[in-house]
């Protein structure tokens, strides 16, 4: 008698090309895979019998269904818990959630519900779900994410998520000296400058650094645009120029997009900034509608 294993068919996977390899599966699991036919969602009139499905032909309904689930590894968990993720893990191999935190919890919850729907069609409680022998576990490419497991506080999870990814980048990249130099161009200036983002702790320091670098150019701009010429342009005046009608500070991020400086947390910005550009306000149309509104309101 086959022991149908609970399976969560909300199988979101990062690796859509993975295939079910029936050879690696035990008998029970093979039967299970085929038995799922009963409950698969399909297109077709009620009562019609679809042609025998082979893995690989299944049209996914909720995202990726069976063929995208790596079932190469069946770990013997031995817990035989009736519901929840342990059962989903038992039979299904691994499926991955790429989403985080709240979304993760919701999806996880959804699949717990699904798993328990299956649980109700089976005999609960006394059923021993554990197969006696250990099956060889091939290392899966994607892992199941169980709600609240491993038991790490969300504060730590969220904090580490950012710092670990940064560290991974840093290890590949540059920062043995701990410097991040990016080019800064200013429209109308004859040459570029470079600024070390590491020495600026936040956006206002970056602004000050840029002011110091480009003040000599903006004096010239002032006069040519008809604004009153001043000796020793004060910092606030320059800030007005930069933040006000004339200029918009933008940066090119890792994806090659030009973004408005100031939207994301400082650390995220330093991580993704490749170069800076002090753009004329008039050219910033479409880049940042907000900036344009600011320009207009200052005028």
């Amino acid at each position: 008698m086959t022991t149908p294993l609970e399976h969560d068919y909300i199988g979101l996977s990062e690796t859509p090309t993975a295939e079910v390899s029936l050879e690696n599966m035990s008998e029970t699991n093979k039967n299970y895979v085929l038995n799922l036919k009963e409950t698969e969602l399909r297109l077709g009139l009620p009562g019609s019998v679809s042609p025998e499905r082979k893995p690989g032909n299944v049209v996914p309904f909720f995202g990726n269904v069976l063929e995208d689930v790596k079932v190469g590894s069946f770990k013997n968990f031995g817990s035989g818990a009736k519901r929840g993720f342990s059962d989903a893990i038992h039979g299904s191999g691994k499926w991955a959630f790429s989403t985080k935190s709240d979304a993760e919890v919701d999806l996880a919850k959804a699949s717990v519900e699904e798993a328990s729907v299956y649980g109700n069609t089976l005999k609960p409680v006394e059923e021993n779900k554990r197969s006696p022998q250990n099956e060889n576990a091939a290392a899966p490419a994607s892992k199941a994410q169980v709600v609240g497991w491993p038991p790490i506080k969300s504060f730590r999870k969220n904090t580490l998520a950012t710092s670990v990814s940064k560290n991974a980048d840093a290890v590949e990249g540059n920062s043995t000296s701990g410097c991040i130099y990016v080019k800064v161009s200013m429209d109308g200036a004859p040459y570029l400058r470079k600024v070390d983002l590491k020495t600026c702790g936040n956006y206002s320091e970056l602004s000050s650094a840029l002011e110091n670098m480009f003040s000599c150019f903006t004096i010239g701009q002032c006069t040519s645009k008809g604004l009153p010429e001043r000796e020793g342009l004060s910092a606030s005046r320059l800030m007005d120029l930069v933040h006000g009608s004339e200029y918009v500070l933008t940066y090119e991020d890792k994806d090659g997009d030009w973004m408005l400086v100031g939207d994301v947390p400082w650390n995220m910005f330093t991580d993704s900034c490749k170069r800076l550009r002090i753009m004329k306000g008039s050219e910033a149309i479409g880049l940042a509608p907000r900036a344009m509104e600011k320009c207009q309101s200052r005028n």
Binding site: G78, G80, A81, K82, S86, S116, L160, S163, V164, N267
Partner: protein
């Protein structure tokens, strides 16, 4: 017991006049005022009515491990003179998203009662409670002598609430905000401490996300001459730490901000600043570490007893270099980026180590899969024979390794091993890890807290029940084969206080095996196990002094998906939300 002596008129409070009075009650209270330990006070209060009264009048601090086990009214009736309250709210698994929001544990109803009966309240320490801004403001305004606020893993408030505290608490000595789930609306709260405010001794805002005005912080540190604990958040960087250290060289605990952004000449100055801090024994923080700057710490390392690097992505060689200066270390928290080699360095550099926690840098295997293994664990145990507290997240373990660890370190009081893949067997033999935990409980007689993981059958639980006679807290996940497992623990562990189980095959038979046990425990949590609503109803019916609460998932039929059982003298909760079914 002391011989009874008549001392003339017994002044008030004793209800039993036939009892020969040994001392006037005031003297007894004076004597009892030196009792600090909760257990001692509890014992003392049980001796006789006179002592019970003397104890209750003399008690200044109260600890309530489960806020629903007693009501504020009952509390104030028994203890009229409390100055310090510690309250814990939600079940521990709420840290891991297993308890829905709005579950409860709101502090406000307590504050209302305290405002009336404890106007002289000085300290409030909360863990896993819901605290709103309104409550914080109420707190700040209701208790003029309020001194110490500690919020750990709480939620429901924002930095606006902190503004109220900073503005109104004129005598504040401690503000400790840790790992809470709050709305960080900005750093202006720090600037709300008035210029006349000088009493702060402890300031911990390490887990807040937004920038504070550094100027305000610097002035605050400057005028609070008694400041001994300062833990800043990641927006403060090294150059600013230097300025703060120069103002407060007497610090005993420092949480650095981001370990970045230091010009070369500044690092020499910072190193000098560290060398001036003769009392510094704890360092934490080191967010966003650039290990390039670690040497500035070296002057302070020789005195360090507690080093928390659990947010610093250090590599093994970086850790080794740092630890070679830290021979006095007692407690170390690290990330598993240091790998087994880093742990070998721990073993060789820190012979006095008593506590080790190794956290996973990437628990969900997005980027790094390495981490630490059993060999790092063994390496630490080889070098650190005094180790008695371990929290270890890893991806592989073997029975033999754990047996070696406890043979090296038989004094474990807290053994928390988390093998991150649920139900993973001994990687060498493919067998269950029963023998590993068997070795732990057989060897470590003083074991108070145990968290188990990996592939485990009922045998592991039999061992626990048979040998872990001092065990108080047990955490179980994805383990066991049948009801016998849980029954073995319920039967065999006389000191068990908290049992929390998830995703394990224990059902009604185990739940109902020994009903009286739960009255000697603080609480039982079972989620995703095999207990049903009927089983819970039976428990509730037979044990009226327990609160039996169930949260069900949608469409789960007869199953009791999340069960929380706890003893209470306050009766069923009156503030339970609709999704918490009280049976």
């Amino acid at each position: 017991m002391d011989p009874v002596r008549k001392r003339g008129k017994n002044l008030s409070k004793s209800l039993d006049s036939t009892q020969p009075a040994s001392f006037p009650d005031e003297v007894l209270e004076q004597v009892f005022s030196v009792l600090k330990s909760r257990k001692d006070r509890s014992s003392v209060s049980l001796v006789c009515k006179v002592w019970y009264n003397a104890e209750r009048w003399s008690r200044r601090k109260v600890f309530i491990g489960n806020c629903y086990s007693v009501s504020p009214e009952i509390l104030v009736r028994r203890f009229p003179n409390i100055r310090s309250v510690t309250l814990k709210g939600k079940p521990r698994f709420s840290d891991f998203s297993l308890v829905p929001h709005d579950w409860g544990a709101d502090i406000h109803s307590w504050l209302d009662v305290f405002a009336e009966f404890y106007p002289f309240l000085e300290e409030l320490r909360l863990k896993r409670m819901v605290v709103t801004d309104r409550s914080l403001e109420f707190l700040a305004k209701s208790f003029s002598g309020f001194k110490a606020l500690s919020l750990l893993s709480c939620d429901g408030f924002s930095t606006d609430g902190l503004k109220a505290i900073a503005t109104h608490c004129k005598n504040l000595t401690e503000l400790d905000i840790q790992e809470n789930d709050i709305d960080d609306l900005g750093g202006e709260w720090l600037s709300c401490f008035p210029e006349t405010f000088v009493s702060l001794e402890v300031l911990n805002f390490a887990s807040l996300h937004s920038d504070v005005t550094f100027d305000a912080l610097e002035r605050l540190v400057d005028r609070c001459k008694a400041l001994r604990v300062l833990k800043v958040n990641m927006h403060i960087y090294l150059e600013q730490i230097k300025k703060l250290l120069l103002k407060a060289p007497g610090l005993t605990e420092l949480g650095t901000g981001s370990f970045l952004q230091l010009l070369p000449r500044q690092s020499a100055e910072l190193e000098t600043a560290f060398s001036r801090c003769k009392n510094l024994h704890t360092i934490s923080g080191l967010w966003e570490l650039s290990s390039f700057y670690l040497p500035v710490l070296y002057p302070a390392c020789a005195n360090l007893t507690y080093l928390n690097l659990s947010y610093a992505t250090l590599q093994s060689d970086e850790l080794a270099k740092l630890l070679s200066n830290c021979s006095n270390l007692r407690r170390l928290w690290v990330l598993d980026t240091v790998k087994d080699e880093g742990l070998e360095a721990v073993g060789s550099s820190c012979p006095l180590l008593e506590e080790l926690r190794v956290f996973p840098a990437d628990p969900f295997d997005h980027i790094m899969v390495q981490g630490v293994t059993e060999s790092g664990f063994v390496a630490v145990s080889n070098g650190c024979r005094k180790l008695h507290y371990v929290l270890y997240f890893c991806r592989q373990m073997s029975n033999v390794a754990v047996a070696t660890v406890v043979k090296n370190c038989p004094d474990f009081t807290h053994f928390r091993l988390c093998i991150m893949n649920p139900g993973q067997p001994d990687y060498m033999t493919n067998e269950p890890l029963d023998e590993a935990f068997g070795a732990v409980v057989k060897t470590c007689n003083k074991l108070q807290r145990l968290a188990i993981s990996g592939l485990l059958t009922d045998r592991a639980f039999e061992y626990i029940g048979k040998y872990a006679k001092n065990l108080e807290i047990l955490s179980v996940a994805f383990a066991g084969s049948s009801d016998l497992g849980m029954e073995a623990v319920i039967e065999g562990c006389p000191k068990l206080r908290k049992l929390e189980i998830r995703d394990s095959p224990f059902g009604n038979a185990a739940l109902l095996y020994n009903l009286n046990k739960y009255e000697s425990m603080r609480s039982l949590w079972m989620s995703a196990c095999n207990v049903t609503m009927n089983g819970c109803r039976v428990l509730a019916k037979l044990m009226p002094r327990l609160n039996v609460e169930v949260m069900k998932d949608e469409g789960s039929g007869n199953g009791a998906d999340k069960l929380y059982v706890y003893r209470s003298v306050a009766g069923p909760r009156r503030d339970a939300p609709p999704f918490v079914l009280t049976l």
